[in-house]
Symmetry: C2
Subunit: 385 residues, 2 copies
């Protein structure tokens, strides 16, 4: 096991009827900016629940955070914060809204010219942030219990991640009931996103972490068992709760502590979203199977173990079991209605492969557990997508 | 899944050479009381490492915390704290030292007459505590990442647990290398303690928590795989690291969130230790198999699942599989050198059963997931031990 450090100060409040606890979590004397997305919270009752819980608070609103949240939109919220003297941010929505809120909390305290350049590209340390909490409404990103986010910039077609311990939510309210009304597409995107988060942290070279590995595989097994239940009955509380807790635990670092991580599927997927606007979950479902095939030799041991423990594969040769495991993963994605080929989204694989190869070459980057996923590998992978 | 809340602010620093980081974790201007046990830290080099890391700090020492730490000893430390104006506590040792330090941190801020009575019996809320951190040297109690402790009182032969969010360690340093020199008996006690912690949180009635259940079983599997390795080679770093992280995760609540808990094995075990002075791990190994037999009907579903997933039992009938699982658990304890009968410790089972029945009757208490382990059940269980 590798050395590690871990500290997540987030207060998690999980379960039915928990939005009503908001007024026990935020000081009365705070001026709150409530940040949300395209308005789904006004249709599913979450907006009303939040407003009711915060009756009597000094509250300003900022709606309109997009999926794949944009830097340009975030900076409008920063302006409003400065005008209004806001000192607490409340994200109400999915991972995009929360990621945006995290970026806004840093950008509002950044005094330089270009917050995107500072936080995302130069990875400059911003030393202060406005405290934030969230009511998370979509099981997917795990942002509710981690210190990261992903922000896109329209002007440059970029989509990049950032991390800062200052953006751990003070609290995260997770009420699985609010997911009963999710569109199927978002439910499926969230399940795939969680699945791939786990793969990025599990499917690497082995540093002897049986506990973390077993936990990762347990999340995959739970997703595979619970996904058909929520698709068959969207109001199945326990299945919704199990999937939400899988999503949170898929990226709260518990399965990654002391282990090796990869994240190359995400880095290629982000580019697909930046260039073609496809959903994050879709981009991951397209890239993962081909990336695993491409990197099969170094990942064969973990892939074979996954195949045997999650899918019951009995093939004794690791490389062959790895192949079967990759097939099974793609079958699972397809079985819940997730398409896994670029052509399914009317994207030309050759063009995508060239664009992304060129961008990685220009940036001179290589991703993955051992930096093996460079521009040339990304080209190979995407050509097969 | 049940509703839950969770917040553990402890900063965990895990791995080789991490004791040297102490001076990045405690403010220079703090006056520290370093609390330790019987002196093993002076033999295994931990004392030296701590003193070196804290060179230049204002440091007072308090040694002599016992296994099953005593209230009477804790109150001597409280006196010293008041004399010296200490404002940070550093526990260096195993779970007993850390539990004592947690109690001391509360008792030093308690202004009434009898801190044991207030904190343990009346469960009075103490609203302040001296901040504390630890260098934990024994994988067993999980105290390094939770808000509880267990303290005994000599005057009354009592051993009781307490909980307060004020006693979460600010940091916990876990260096598995310091466990290379542990006596076999302590290694084995720690493995059994961890195993039984997991059982107390897993082996209850089912509220549909597949993720948490799978994680619990992963800890058990990891313990069973790694235990023989550390017994064969006490300096096997990875095996020591895996066992330590199992111990921490066995009681940091991650497997219990949203699930049902029991703790009746511990409550009976505490009485055996209070009356007869046997090790905590020993008391649990004696009680668990007989308690599971006694409560088999309500626990059969989880026991059968454990039997199948951890021990590969193929028996299809749950009640029969549960019997086999209980046998396998006792075999595992015996296989690592842990004796599991009261007679092995020269304790008369009839006498123990009567004493503990009488105490539970006098206190009018009942333990377990549904309060089923009352005085009469404890008598039945102990008579079979």
């Amino acid at each position: 096991m590798n050395n590690f450090e871990y500290c997540c100060p987030t207060h998690v409040i999980f379960g039915k009827g928990t939005i009503a606890k908001l007024n026990k979590l935020i000081d009365r004397n705070k001026k709150i900016l409530m940040i949300y997305g395209g308005g789904s919270i006004k249709k599913n009752g979450v907006y009303e629940q939040v407003k009711k819980a915060l009756e009597g608070y000094n509250l300003v609103e900022f709606g309109g955070i997009e999926p794949n949240p944009k830097y340009e939109t975030c900076m409008k919220a920063v302006e409003l914060i400065k005008q209004e003297g806001v000192d607490f941010l409340l994200a109400v929505g999915g991972g995009s809204t929360l990621d945006a809120t995290k970026f806004i909390s840093l950008a509002a305290k950044y005094n330089g010219d270009d917050a995107y350049d500072a936080i995302m590209i130069r990875e400059e340390q911003v030393n202060d942030a406005i405290p934030l909490g969230d009511v998370i409404t979509l099981p997917a990103t795990g942002s509710e219990m981690n210190n990261g986010g992903v922000i896109s910039r329209l002007a440059t077609d970029e989509k990049l991640p950032f991390h800062s311990d200052l953006v751990y939510p003070k609290f995260s309210i997770i009420d699985p009931e609010v997911t009963f009304s999710l569109p199927v597409r978002q439910t499926v995107n969230g399940i795939v996103d969680t699945f791939v988060h786990v793969m990025e942290q599990y499917c690497t070279y082995d540093v002897n972490t049986p506990l973390q590995d077993g936990w990762a595989l347990t999340i995959l097994k739970t997703l595979i068992e619970e996904a058909p239940k929520v698709l068959a009955n969207p109001s199945d509380y326990d299945a919704r709760a199990n999937i939400f807790w899988c999503a949170t635990c898929g990226l709260n670092y518990w399965i990654a502590l002391g282990a090796v991580q990869d994240w190359s599927t995400h880095m290629i997927g982000h580019e697909l979203t930046a260039f073609y606007g496809i959903d994050h979950g879709q981009s991951l479902a397209i890239v993962l199977p081909r990336l695993l095939k491409n990197q099969k030799v170094s990942k064969s041991r973990k892939l074979a173990k996954l195949g045997r423990e999650v899918f019951g594969i009995t093939e004794p040769v690791d490389l062959k079991a790895a192949d079967l495991a990759i097939e099974k993963i793609e079958e699972f994605f397809n079985s819940i209605g997730m398409k896994t080929k670029l052509a399914d989204y009317e994207i030309d694989s050759k063009e995508a492969a060239e664009k992304i190869r060129d961008r990685f070459t220009k940036r001179n980057v290589a991703f993955g557990e051992k930096g093996a996923v460079n521009a040339a590998a990304a080209y190979e992978i995407l050509s097969e997508c």
